[in-house]
Amino acid sequence: MNRERSTVQVIAHIFLGIMTVAIIAPFALMIISSLTDDHSLVLRGYSFVPAKWSLAAYEYLFNQGSTIFRAFGITIFVTVVGVTLSLVVTTMLAYTLSRGDVPGSKVMTVLVVVTILFNGGLVPSYIMYASYLHIKNTILALLIPGLLTNGYTIFMVRTYYKTSIPSALIEAAKIDGAGEFYTFLRIVLPLSLPIVATTGLLSAIMYWNDWFNGMIYINNPKLFSIQLILNRMLQDIQFLTSNAQLSAQAGEALSKIPSTSIRMAIATLGALPLLAAYPFFQKYFVKGITIGAVKG
């Protein structure tokens, strides 16, 4: 019995170990390549043990100064503001939906479901945001389209409220004289911290990694986010290399594109802050998801 269990455990450990290495290795390679001398990258290719270490890529980025750091600022601002806004909207809407006694809550539920099942498509959304709401080329274009709320998370939070917060508690608060807002802020919200942290992290990841809105709605280089800059470099390279028609001139443009180590350094800078934040959220993350899943 014991031996059987330990065999299973050993296999499981080996399996998980391999998985972990498979996940960590690319990250490690990315960081190491960003610290590798450019010449040895071209001559010998990627390597975990580079022939020559170099901080040149990071020096280049720091010398560029404003562009990269501004982009960082934009990304951080958008993430902080976006997550806050999306949490306010999501938790309040989910709370309303979780209370069966609100007039019209069924209609609202259907409306939220509709946004999960269907979306307007790119061109109509673009017309809406650009021609009617006029948010093209403003910071709002990085906050609102497609990111502010998400039907899935609203339902996740709603299910959490429904199952983990006894309605008796809300009634008791009411009897003691608490108003709706007071009940929500002082009783419901503190009890739902795990799910708030989970949705907060999910939306933080989405905001941090988003480049698509920037590509579609932003023309002003001052509003470029870090992921947009990275993505643009990669797309430029792809464009130049996939268009054989570009002939001699493409080579000229291509040679001015930042080298591999610089690209890796930007990717590292883009990924690290979120990686660093992960462990602190993890305990809520696991709890929040299991509660939502098992009891829902």
Partner: protein, 492 residues
């Protein structure tokens, strides 16, 4: 009292409307110009735009708004803008961007009349033949090519240090046989070096854009051999010349003259040369090409001419300046385009920025970056200046010969032109065949043209697949359209 008060109020109201309408009347139409940037999007656009407007508003009676975008953002936003009514007046279009689709969806307008009336200056800087290459569909002009090198030659680029060391005289290299002798020598003397790298990432030395021994007629196989000397459309892939090139390349590959893994390489060729890993490459050349390549590679290069300059339609209409259906004032848009093509001060502002701030003029008349600024941190620098309407009326940059633009124009002038220049093939009637053919080309061309595949085995397979994809039908259609065009133009 009350009456006086009312009168004053009325007076104020009148004055207010008068000022309002005066201000409105004085505000010129804003022409939005959107274009593609390959590299950093400059951050100092506003300052440059203001400087251009100081010239443009009095001259054209319209102001300009610059919208530079990165490659992927440009193609995405362009499609969205063209699908809506957002105002973009002037755009960069062309066969590379997909102008055929824009015309089919009526998103760009025909420019013939506008050009005759408001674009006279453009006709002064571009030959009629060159403008004709923008007549993409039904003989109507949908885009105007920028003034750049329209002709390309075929040449062999070598690192000067090694060429000098082994006493290789570039003037004596006249054919691929001569190149072969050089490669053999280098392989012998410098066994660690790659003798020959591809001209560009994922481009073969015998791609139509590099080895321009024939008029490509919009690509996909049906070509005019011998640099468009006759109007008979032939199958390039079945020609003896193509077979000979492939056999040569395969031989070079077996002998170890070429780069291993060239088909999967993504490092820019200039980086490979710069690191000292390789010796030479075959390239599509132009006037001042050696100077350009020296700057690009960071190593001094010398050029051997194998074939002189040659121009055909496909060299010219990859990039075109077009006016969209969304423009609310196409007349002003054309006048603005005319200004961009003809006014040296405006063109210099657009391409190089503001003097003293973005570039400085040296004693020799050449311009360079101001102290402490280079291509990587300049707030206004484009690495694709050839895309703008007219770079030849701007100052020459340090590192290039002072006569760079003159040489370029003279080169265009002297280059041999295909008989069919100005003819644009419309692939719509054979659309599915063209797609099928490009898939087959994608599958075989690099492997064969890098010499990785044995032409004795793979070339017949390639030719058979192209036949099945319908290459004969495309050639027949090309011939039909070409005959019609030649008849209308009176060319035999």
């Amino acid at each position: 009292m009350k009456r006086i008060f009312t009168a004053i109020l009325a007076g104020i109201a009148l004055l207010g409307t008068a000022i309002g309408s005066a201000a409105q009347g004085a505000k010129p139409y804003e022409v939005v110009v959107a274009y593609i940037v390959m590299g950093n999007v400059p951050s100092d656009n506003q300052a440059v735009q203001d400087a251009i407007n100081k010239i443009a508003v009095p001259k054209v009676g319209a102001s300009i708004k610059l919208v530079p975008l990165g490659t992927s953002a440009y193609s995405n936003q362009l499609n969205l803008v063209l699908a809506t009514d957002e105002q973009w007046d002037i755009i960069v279009d062309g066969t590379i961007i997909g102008i055929g689709g824009h015309i089919a969806r009526n998103q760009v307008i025909a420019l013939d009349e506008l050009l005759d009336k408001y674009g006279k200056g453009i006709k002064g800087v571009l030959d009629a033949d060159m403008i004709d290459t923008g007549k993409i569909r039904n003989g109507k002009l949908y885009g105007i090519p920028p003034v750049k090198n329209f002709a390309g030659g075929f040449g062999y680029m070598m690192r000067k240090d090694l060429a000098d060391k082994y006493k290789i005289d570039p003037a004596k290299i006249k054919s691929l046989d001569d190149v072969e002798a050089v490669l053999k020598l280098i392989k012998q003397k410098e066994p660690d070096l790659i003798p020959l790298v591809p001209p560009n990432v994922r481009a073969s030395p015998f791609a139509p854009t590099v080895y321009n021994a024939y008029d490509t007629l919009g690509n996909n196989g049906g070509v005019l051999m011998n640099r468009g000397a006759s109007l008979k459309v032939e199958n390039w892939f079945e020609s003896a010349e193509y077979r000979k090139l492939l056999e040569r390349m395969h031989k070079w590959n077996e002998a170890g003259y070429t780069m291993k893994g060239a088909a999967t390489n993504t490092d820019p060729i200039s980086t490979i040369i710069k690191t000292g890993k390789a010796f030479s490459y075959l390239a599509n050349t132009k006037a001042g090409f050696a100077a350009q390549e020296t700057i690009k590679n960071g190593v001094e290069m010398v050029m051997a001419d194998i074939m002189p300059g040659f121009a055909c339609t496909d060299n010219c209409n990859g990039w075109l300046w077009s006016i969209t259906r969304n423009s609310k004032n196409p007349q002003k848009a054309m006048e603005m385009l005319n200004l961009l093509y003809t006014d040296p001060a405006v063109s210099t502002l657009l391409i190089d920025g503001i003097e003293g701030k973005h570039y400085v003029k040296g004693a020799d008349g050449l311009v360079d970056f101001p102290a402490g600024i280079d291509a990587s941190n300049s707030p206004y620098y484009y690495n694709s200046p050839w895309l703008f309407p007219n770079q030849t009326i701007t100052p020459v940059w340090t590192g290039f010969p002072p006569s760079y633009w003159k040489d370029l124009l003279a080169y265009n002038e002297s280059a041999k032109k295909s008989k069919a220049i100005g003819f644009v093939f419309d692939p719509t009637p054979v659309k599915s065949q063209v797609t099928a053919i490009s898939n087959v080309i994608e599958q075989y061309s690099l492997g064969l043209e890098y010499g990785d595949m044995d032409p004795a085995v793979k070339l017949p397979e390639y030719q058979a697949k192209l036949k099945r994809a319908g290459i004969d039908k495309v050639i027949a259609e090309k011939q039909r359209q070409l005959d019609e065009w030649a008849k209308a133009k009176g060319i035999r």
